[in-house]
Amino acid sequence: MSDSPQTLPVSLEHASKRYGATTVVDDFSFEARPGETVALLGPNGAGKTTSISMMLGLKHMTSGQARIFDHMPTSTEARVRTGIMLQESGLPATLKVREIVELFSRFYPHPISNAEAIEAAMLTDKTERRIADLSGGERQRLYFALAIIGEPDLLFLDEPTVGMDVTARGIFWDRIRQMHARGKTIVLTTHYLEEADALADRIVVMNKGVQVAEGTPAEIKATVMGKVVRFHTPSVNAATLRALPGVEEATLTDHTVELFTRTPEITVKALLNGPTIVQDLEVGGGTLEDAFVRLTA
């Protein structure tokens, strides 16, 4: 642990991953600073897991470079300081919770106690259970225990709360915040903006293999969280719509208009006071998918 202050826990430089003609990740650069929690946010298929796999040396890059604490990601120096939760990695079904935690603890030079890891994963009453008998959420928490058992300085959490209900997710977020409070650097992927907002110091938004936005949760939310005003109209002028206050984007298809705005009250007021004939008016939250599309456009 003789890192210089400049040593980055993780860095990815100009990473690209192509399979034949398909580009999964395109010239993506990423870093996390010591103690920082960074969320990689994006829809399914955005390239988040591939990016994490490249950072960890679990996927070869077509081009680019990855370092963990300034070591090769696959080196023992990097591995002993890294804890990982992978999506769908599977565990031997016949082993007991206690056994697999003990096995993983023996891979690391300075593990925390098994009891502590199991407690953090809220599995204290399940230590004698076979993995086959755990629920999806319990298995997900067991992955967390395995990720933290080695007392890592850097944690990778790939879609950590998939399969958890709302309550379990909230408790699990607290555990991640505890890791953050203990100074760990955390990189997590998620397709929930809410999760990125709850946990991250910084959010990197990915879509279709490229970074489309980066900023604090507040900045990202401001960019993403608009409303969509939708209505039917027999005749309208697109220029008129774009001139309405607050409208950032307007689309017109078959007499259906969609306006994207972050100030829906002002936009709707102006719309109704204006000359446009408005039928079937709806105001809805833009989905995150819509937001990704807008960010990419």
């Binding site: 769908e88 056994e99 096995l103 891979f107």
Partner: protein, 275 residues
């Protein structure tokens, strides 16, 4: 006084010195072997077929003619190497290799690769587990034959035979690894059965070589299980005219070929997993 000083030193070391591992004996390999054994014996189908099936076959086909002779030795004695090789071949092919196909299928190996666990720990734990399971199954079979058939080789010969079986087991552990990396999780067990059962028959493990059909006698001298069996038969004085060294060479050669094959398929799998 002496003890007081050392106690203080121990406490200081365990509390303050975080550069030392948490407790003394924490061999990852030993515990990985324990986990491999647990994984294996908690699959009842496998344990039953490995322990019960050979005993059943012995009861049905050997016990009725236990007092006859074969190749100059009592039938009971003659079948100890035959069935012994069958047992360790089953243990070797099925205990390491087939689970690997499953573990590849569910990406467990990917999670392991993200830990500091050494690759050699992964393979060594599986090979050691196979040898232990093979030794346990063969010993169980010997005791069964001793109790039900009165077969008695003498303790020294039993131990020599057991040692020989464990050496003869190596090519089959390698074959299991090869199948585990070459074939998917659904097909692996089937492919292994398709290889092990005909191989056992053709090599004279169930029917003595001299009683095999003509075509099998032509092929047998090229099969690994035939030479593995001869190592055992030579030990009890029922071997063929070829020297033990030649049989050992065949067993070693097959081990190398299967290991090379396993490495080739392992690399192919790495390319798919990490590509």
């Amino acid at each position: 006084m002496q003890s007081g000083v050392s106690t203080t030193a121990t406490v200081a070391a365990s509390v303050g010195d975080t550069t030392q591992p948490r407790h003394g004996n924490r061999s990852a390999l030993l515990y990985a072997v324990y986990c491999e054994i647990m994984k294996t014996i908690r699959v009842p189908m496998f344990t039953v077929s490995l322990f019960v099936l050979p005993a059943m076959l012995f009861s049905l086909f050997v016990l009725p003619s236990i007092h006859e002779t074969q190749n100059g030795v009592a039938v009971g004695n003659y079948t100890m190497p035959s069935f012994g090789i069958y047992v360790v071949m089953m243990a070797g092919v099925f205990s390491s290799g087939i689970p690997i196909a499953n573990e590849r299928g569910m990406k467990w190996n990917l999670l392991l690769r993200a830990t500091p666990m050494k690759l050699r720990t992964y393979f060594a734990s599986k090979v050691i587990m196979s040898l232990l399971i093979g030794a346990a199954a063969a010993t169980f079979f010997f005791i069964f034959a001793r109790v039900t058939g009165g077969v008695d080789l003498g303790i020294a010969m039993w131990l020599k035979l057991l040692g020989t079986l464990l050496v003869a087991m190596l090519p089959f552990i390698a074959l299991g690894l090869l199948i585990g990396y070459a074939v998917g999780p659904q097909a692996a067990a089937g492919v292994a059965n398709l290889i092990v059962l005909p191989l056992s028959f053709m090599s004279g493990l169930f029917i003595p070589y001299d009683s095999l059909p003509h075509f099998a006698r032509q092929i047998a001298p090229y099969l690994p299980a035939y030479h593995a069996g001869q190592l055992g038969w030579h030990l009890i004085g029922a071997g063929d005219d070829t020297s033990v060294a030649v049989h050992l060479l065949w067993v070693a050669g097959y081990t190398l070929v299967f290991v090379a094959g396993a490495i080739w398929f392992y690399r192919r799998d790495e390319g798919k997993t990490f590509g």
